[in-house]
């Protein structure tokens, strides 16, 4: 049915043991003209070492400004199947858990209207449906939404929040990442679907400092679970680790960044007041050590990749917050943060960049957060500080 292409270069990428994306495109190409032409166009890119996708284009579904990314081939006559090849972002369930029933339903809908190619998943977390035309967008949305699925965020909007596996399958979850993620996604539906920000805003929720979701590097608001109080120690299990060959002094005590641990060959001791909760010891002795009982999260703000003025990691703004349903304090704080960003951000400026040029004080005062030493690595090195009128009293 579909046009066939010789793909000698891509065929090379079917060889070797690692799963091959070329095989995936070929599987889809058996059923879809779009996927077949995708294969042809990518082969051409491999030959000429350049891409053939035109720049963006505004497409979407009625009432939304987000969720669909327009994509057009710059070679529509040569590859008509990818003349339009839009991306549809479907908001993924918290933690990427699925039933096979739901996945099959998704596949049936996507085979009907799209290329049969997906990304499971995109960098923001969404289920990405890759390759459809403009006319199919409304039908796709109607079918998906009638079965309980919605679009994710794109453009200058709240991006689809994402989270780690959390209490679903991890003993280190200090917060209910799945529930927080779901609650925030629901709360900010309007901001997700109708872009009204200066630029993108990402929220990622990790249950602990291991940060399997890369929240600290990629989210404008990074929510990272932590605890207060003493690490719980099961000394019998410590003994078992030693018995089974772990060199507790070399692997645990000496690698503790704060030097708060000691081991005399019998008992592991922790000076919890000096612990910075980095998770090394807990992660290496899963049976013996567990986080303390008072659970909550640290909120950090501002991380992003290098465009435009260099990469940033998120900064601590709330050292500890209890996070329990309905998460009202967190929701209110996020609204305050968005408000400040809205008032001060220029076009295409992420919140971290705005904090850099307006100053952290301006941000903290507006959103109502007091200065605390946990926010900094060290105090400033220069004497060029601002005094506000109220500081002079």
């Amino acid at each position: 049915m579909s046009k066939k292409y010789d793909t000698p270069l891509l065929d090379e990428l079917e060889k070797g043991p690692w799963p091959s994306f070329v095989k995936e495109i070929k599987k889809a190409a058996k059923k879809s003209e779009r996927a077949a032409d995708e294969l042809g166009q990518v082969e051409k890119s491999y030959k000429t070492k350049r891409g053939y996708w035109k720049h963006g284009g505004i497409v979407g579904v009625l009432g939304y400004g987000s969720g669909v990314i327009g994509r057009y081939s710059s070679l529509p006559e040569e590859f008509p199947g990818v003349a339009h090849f839009h991306t549809v972002r479907i908001n993924q369930p918290s933690g990427w858990f699925y039933t096979t029933k739901a996945l099959r339903e998704m596949c049936d809908m996507w085979d009907k209207y799209g290329s049969g190619l997906t990304n499971m998943h995109g960098s923001t977390g969404d289920m990405i449906l890759l390759g459809t035309n403009t006319e199919s967008l409304e039908p796709i949305f109607a079918e998906f939404s009638s079965r309980g699925w919605d679009l994710g965020g794109s453009g200058s909007a709240m991006r689809t929040p994402s989270c780690c596996v959390g209490p679903g399958r991890c003993e280190w979850a200090n917060i209910d990442t799945l529930d927080i993620n779901y609650a925030l996604t629901q709360e900010f539906q309007d901001e997700l679907h109708r872009p009204s920000f200066a630029y993108k805003f990402k929220i990622k929720t990790a249950g602990c400092a291991v940060d399997c979701i890369a929240a600290i590097a990629r989210a404008d608001l990074s929510i990272i679970g932590t605890w207060k109080g003493d690490i719980k120690i099961d000394q019998a299990e410590v003994k078992n680790y030693a018995k089974n060959g772990m060199d507790i002094n070399a692997e645990i005590v000496d690698m503790c960044p704060t030097g708060c641990m000691s081991y005399d060959g019998k008992k592991l001791k922790i000076e919890d007041e000096d612990c910075n909760r980095c998770m090394h010891c807990i992660a290496k002795m899963t049976k013996a050590l567990r986080p303390g009982d008072e659970r909550g999260a640290t909120l950090l703000i501002g991380s992003k990749a290098p465009i435009v003025v260099g990469a940033m990691l998120s900064w601590v703004v709330v050292p500890f917050i209890k996070l329990e349903p309905p998460y009202q304090e967190l929701k209110d704080l996020i609204r305050k943060i968005l408000e400040w960003w809205d008032e001060n951000g220029k076009a295409r400026e992420r919140i971290g960049e705005v904090i850099e040029h307006k100053g952290m004080r301006s941000f903290l005062e507006y959103v109502g957060l007091p200065p605390v030493p946990q926010m900094i690595k060290e105090p400033r090195r220069d004497p060029f500080f601002f005094w506000a009128e109220k500081d002079l009293k």
Binding site: I25, Y46, W96, A102, R104, G116, P167, E251
Partner: protein
């Protein structure tokens, strides 16, 4: 046939309906976990219940046929439940221990790659590349495939001092957290963009275009109703192209990739850190980018030989020092390694305590 009634702003399906019964029952009550082998771990609940996870690699780009196939497998062994990880692995969630080995056997028989758990390489986070992105200056899926064919054993069997997170970004926008990965590939341009003045006047807003440049290299060109670029200031980031397509930065002859190393996101032992430049440039060599793959393997294996147990790549380099990193890896040090962007002075050495 009429379409079903569309609904708006309903958000995603509630996650709870997708959790296997054993997870529903023991939600938030997990006690500990153990890695049983490179592709299997078990989580044990306070109640004594267990859930086994079998992890397989995916090429991220999945056809609906493959998703149906993994669904069939999950029906057979996992009561119809599975999940994906933040690094695009597929995880089969098994509540019946007796099904773990048969599942692994069937996966291997069907050609799936089981592994990625513990101190090794997990799946590679990457971007769209030539498959679907307008700003790509290399492919991403192809680089990942070529690299992981070579590093396959580090996913399936071989152990490293700690986990090593690889990533590929097909341009400096870095949709894939390359900026905080252990070893990562990022595609870069090397030439000042060309401007289609005729189109620019019709398509672009000039103040926005000027404002998009982080180094203030763009200024108005009133005679042409366009803009001009000061080549001495341009660092080829491509941000101007993103806001104004007639400014074309693609150059197949001069585009290629850089390798950065030493980043991490977790706080274990040392704080999260950015990746730093190891090798500034390789030409694009599709379909298999042999020089890039060899360079990544060299860095990975140098780390594997020299790092202490539990040290991540960045921690190892910080302990031995960058001068020794270049020596051990045999990577040539060039002017590009010395920063000349913002905050460059933070990276210059301020003591005579270096190593020879």
């Amino acid at each position: 046939m009429s379409l079903p009634q569309r609904k708006t702003d309903i958000g995603p399906p509630h996650y709870k309906q997708f959790l296997p019964p054993v997870i529903q029952k023991n939600y938030g009550q997990w006690k500990y976990h153990e890695v049983l082998d490179p592709g299997t771990m078990v989580h044990v609940a306070e109640s004594g219940d267990k859930i086994y996870t079998v992890r397989v690699a995916s090429p991220r780009l999945l056809s609906t046929d493959t998703i149906r196939e993994i669904s069939d497998i999950a029906d057979k062994y996992c009561e119809g439940y599975l999940r994906f990880t933040s690094r695009n692995n597929i995880e089969f969630l098994v509540s019946d221990k007796s099904k773990v080995e048969p599942l692994k056997k069937e996966l291997k028989d069907k050609g799936y790659t089981v592994g990625g758990i513990g101190p090794r390489v997990s799946n590679v986070v990457h971007t769209q590349g030539w498959i679907h992105c307008h700003s790509a200056c290399t492919d991403a899926s192809g680089l990942v495939k070529a690299m992981m064919d070579e590093l396959y054993d580090y996913f399936t069997t071989k152990e490293l001092p700690n986990k090593v997170r690889l990533a590929v970004a097909c341009c400096v926008n870095m949709c894939g957290a390359v900026h905080c990965s252990d070893i990562a590939i990022v595609a870069v341009h090397r030439k000042v963009p060309t401007i289609d003045h005729g189109r620019l006047a019709n398509v672009c807003e000039i103040p926005t275009t000027i404002a998009s440049c982080p180094t203030h290299a763009i200024s108005p060109d009133p005679a042409k109703k366009s803009v001009k670029i000061n080549p001495d200031r341009c660092m080829y980031c491509g941000n101007c192209f993103t806001v104004c397509p007639p400014i074309d930065i693609h150059d197949p002859e001069n585009d290629g990739v850089a390798i950065v190393v030493g980043g991490k996101v977790g706080s274990l032992r040392s704080n999260p850190k950015f990746s730093k430049l190891a090798i500034p440039f390789f030409y694009n060599e599709p379909p298999r980018w042999p020089k890039v793959v060899a360079a990544v393997k060299n860095i990975l294996e140098t780390y594997a030989r020299h790092a202490k147990q539990h040290e991540r790549v960045g921690e190892w380099i910080e302990r031995i020092g960058w001068e020794k990193f270049f020596k051990l890896t045999g990577i040539e040090f060039t002017f590009q390694h010395i920063d000349d962007f913002k905050f460059a002075r933070e990276t210059f050495r301020t003591a005579a305590t270096f190593k020879w």
